[in-house]
Assembly symmetry: C2
Homo-oligomer: 410 residues x 2
C-alpha cells in the first residue's frame, strides 16, 4: 500500500477524555511518517466532512500543543449526530468515498459511542463492497459505559470520578445542618445505570450516604421508595439519594413523565423537569421534610477537574493501538478493553479488536446481580469493577488567568 493520509473525527456527546483518544490516534499516526502522510481532522464529524470542513493537525496543533488535547474536555474537532443511511445504495456513500479518494485517505478513524460504531460499520461494509482498501476503525467513547464486548469505555472512568467526588461533597454539604433533610442527586444515563452506580464510590463505610441508589435497570416504585427514605432516617438525619435520569416504573413510564402538572408554561408549552425535581417534591409533600434536588448535568461529561489518570492513559492507549492495527491491515474493528486482575487483585488492561458489527446499536446494562434485590443499591461487585477505573489525578496546567489551560480550534 502506498503512503496514504489518515482522517479522524469525533461524534456524539463529549467526554473528558474524547480528546485523549484523539491525541492517541494523531500522535501515533504522526510517528509513522513512512507509512502515513497527512493527519487530518474532520470538523463536526462525518456531517462536517461532507461539507468539506477539515483541518491538518500539524498546522492546527504543532509541537507541544498537541499534548494539550489530553486534558481538554469536550470534542476538539466538534461533533455531530448524523446517522448514515441504512441502505448502502444511497448516493452519500459514493460521494464520501470520492472525497476520501480526493484527499488520498487510507485510514478513517471515528471516535464515539454505539451510533458512531454504526457509521464505522457502514463505511467498512461499503468499502468491502466496492473493493476499497481504506481501513475504517472505531475508537470507543461514552460516559454511559454501555458498549458491548469491552470491559469499559474511555470517558466512563473520569465521569465516574466526577460523580463520586461531587456526590461526596454534596453529602458534606447535606450534613452541615442537624435538621432532617433529603437530597436527591440526578445523574446522567437514560438506559444504563453505570454512571449512577458510580455514586456508591462516594460511600466511605456501610451505612454512609448515599443511602439509596436507583438505576434504570430495575423498575422504580414510588411507594417503596418513600418507605426506604423513611427507613434511611434511622441511619442519618440527612439522607442523600442518587437516581439515574432514566428511572422508570414497571410499565416503562419514566418517573420524569409523572410530572404531568409541571405541564405547561405561560406560553402553553410543555415544561420538562427531571425525575430529581419530581422526587424532591414527592418527598417534601408526602414525608413533610426538607428536600432539595441537584442535577449534576453537563459537568459530568465536560469537567476536567476530576479527570481519572487511568481513564486518560487508556484513552490515549486505545487511540494508538487502533493506528497500529490499521497499519497491519485491520478494518471494521473497534478497539476494546480486556481487564486483567492479578492474583494480588491489582488491575491492568490490554486492548483488543472487536468486529464493529457486533457492537453498534447495542447497549450493555449493569448486570442484575450487581444490583441489590430490592433495587435500591449496588453491591460490592460493582465497587470492585469501578474502583480501579477512577484512580489517579491529572495535573491540568493553569493559564495566566488562573483557569485550566485548554486548546481550542481556531
Amino acid at each position: 500500500m502506498d503512503k496514504k493520509n489518515l482522517i479522524v473525527g469525533q461524534s456524539g456527546g463529549p467526554t473528558a477524555v474524547i480528546n485523549s483518544s484523539l491525541y492517541g490516534v494523531v500522535s501515533e499516526a504522526l510517528s509513522h511518517p513512512e507509512e502515513i502522510g497527512c493527519v487530518y481532522g474532520m470538523i463536526n464529524g462525518i456531517e462536517g466532512f461532507l461539507n468539506g470542513t477539515v483541518l491538518d493537525f500539524q498546522e492546527a496543533l504543532p509541537g507541544e500543543r498537541l499534548s494539550y488535547l489530553k486534558h481538554t474536555p469536550g470534542a476538539y474537532l466538534g461533533s455531530c449526530r448524523y446517522k448514515l443511511p441504512e441502505s448502502l445504495e444511497d448516493p452519500v456513500y459514493p460521494r464520501l468515498f470520492e472525497k476520501f479518494k480526493e484527499m488520498n485517505i487510507g485510514y478513517f478513524f471515528y471516535i464515539g459511542g454505539n451510533d458512531s460504531m454504526d457509521t464505522v460499520s457502514k463505511l467498512s461494509r461499503y468499502a468491502a463492497r466496492i473493493g476499497s482498501d481504506i481501513r475504517v476503525m472505531g475508537e470507543p467513547k461514552t460516559i454511559d459505559n454501555d458498549l458491548v464486548l469491552t470491559d469499559h469505555t474511555p470517558g466512563f472512568g473520569s465521569a465516574a470520578r466526577y460523580v463520586a467526588s461531587t456526590v461526596r461533597e454534596i453529602i458534606i454539604d447535606a450534613n452541615v445542618y442537624e435538621k432532617k433533610s433529603v437530597t436527591i442527586v440526578e445523574i446522567m444515563g437514560r438506559h444504563a445505570g453505570w454512571l449512577t452506580a458510580a455514586s456508591v464510590l462516594a460511600r466511605k463505610y456501610t451505612g454512609d450516604n448515599p443511602l439509596l441508589i436507583y438505576l434504570p435497570e430495575t423498575a422504580f416504585d414510588v411507594e417503596a421508595f418513600l418507605q426506604k427514605v423513611e427507613a434511611a432516617f434511622e441511619k442519618n438525619c440527612n439522607v442523600v439519594v442518587c437516581v439515574s435520569e432514566g428511572i422508570h416504573d414497571k410499565n416503562g413510564t419514566f418517573i420524569c413523565e409523572y410530572d404531568n402538572s409541571v405541564g405547561t408554561d405561560s406560553f402553553g408549552h410543555k415544561m420538562l423537569a427531571g425525575c430529581g425535581k419530581y422526587l424532591e417534591n414527592l418527598v417534601r409533600s408526602r414525608l413533610g421534610v426538607k428536600a432539595r434536588s441537584v442535577e449534576l448535568n453537563v459537568s459530568q461529561r465536560c469537567s476536567s477537574s476530576m479527570l481519572s489518570a487511568t481513564d486518560q492513559k487508556e484513552a490515549v492507549q486505545a487511540g494508538a493501538f487502533g493506528v497500529l492495527a490499521a497499519l497491519k491491515g485491520e478494518t471494521g474493528k473497534m478497539i476494546a478493553f480486556q481487564r486483567e486482575t492479578a492474583a494480588d487483585g491489582s488491575y491492568s488492561m490490554t486492548c483488543s479488536l472487536e468486529d464493529v458489527n457486533d457492537i453498534c446499536n447495542k447497549e450493555k446494562a449493569v448486570p442484575m446481580e450487581w444490583i441489590t434485590e430490592d433495587g435500591s443499591d449496588v453491591g460490592p461487585a460493582f465497587i470492585a469493577y469501578a474502583s480501579p477505573l477512577i484512580q489517579g489525578t491529572v495535573q491540568v496546567p493553569m493559564g495566566e488567568d488562573g483557569l485550566p489551560a485548554f486548546v481550542y480550534r481556531k
Copy 2:
C-alpha cells in the same frame, strides 16, 4: 487575664474555605499555650453549644490531621441558622454566659456571614453590659461576597474560580454541535451578583461566551433579554447566558416567580423551578431554538476541585489574625480584608479589624458602574477586582479510594 479557653463555631451556609478559617483560628490558638488553654469547637454553631455539643480539637484532630481542614469543604463543625433574640434581656444570654463560665471560655470565635456577625454583635454587647471580659470575634465567610467594610470575603475566591472554570467547560460543551443553541447557566446569589459576575472570567476574548451576564443589581426585562439573545447569535451560534438566581423585574418580582404554571404537582403542591428553567423554556418557545439550562447548585459552595490558593491562604490568615487581635484585647470586631495594589498592578492583602456592629445585617452589592449600562454584562473593573482572588491551585491529597481525602467529625 488568667489562662482561658477558646471556643469557635461555624454558622450559615458552607464554603470551600470555611474550614481554612477554622484551621487559622485553631492552629494560631494552639500556638499560644501560655495564654490559651483548651481550644474547643461548638458543634452546629451557637444552637449546638446551647445543647452542650462541643469537641476538643487536640482530641478530634491531633497533629497533622488538623491541616486537612484546609482542603475539606463544608463546615467541619456543622452549622446552624439560629438567630439570637434582639432583646439582650432574653434569658438565653445569661444561660450562654453561664456556660462560657463553666467552660472557662475567654475567647469566642464565630465564622460566618452577616447573620453570624449579628450573633457576634449581640454577644459582645451583652458581654460589655455585664462586664464580662470574654472576647467575641467574627471571622468572615460567604461565597456571596456581600459583607460591607471588607474588600472581599473568604469563600468568594474559590466559589468564583469554580463558577469561572465550570462555565468555561460548559461553553466547550455547548460548542460541540454546529446547531444554534442557547445555554442558560443559573448561579447562586439572591441579592448580590458577585458570584454571577465571576462568570465573566470564563471569557477568553471580547465577543467570547458567556455573551450575556445578568445580575440582580439591575432590573431584568424579558423582551430586552430575548432581543439580546437574537443579537448574540451574530457572534456565536451557541450562546451561553449566565444569570443570577435572584434576577427580578423592575417591580421586584423574581423571574423564577413568573413560572406560575409550573404551578402544582399531582399532590396539589406548588412546584418550584429556577429562573434558568424559566428562561430555557422562554427561549425555546419564543425563539424556536434549542435551549437548555444548567443550575450550578451546591457545588459552588462545597467543591474542593477549584479551591483558590489565594482564597485558602487568606482564610487561614484571617483566622490567625483574629486570634492575635483577641489576645491583644480586641472584642466585637470582624476581621476584614484591605486590598493593596502595587504600582506594577500586583495584588496583596492585609487584614484589618472592623466594628462588627457596622457590618451585621448589611449587604454589599456589585457597584452599578461595574455593570454595563444595559445590564447585560459586567465591565473591566470587575475583572480587575476578581481576577487576583481566583489565582493559584491547591493540590488536594487523594485517599486510597482515589477520591479527595477530607476530615470528618466522628
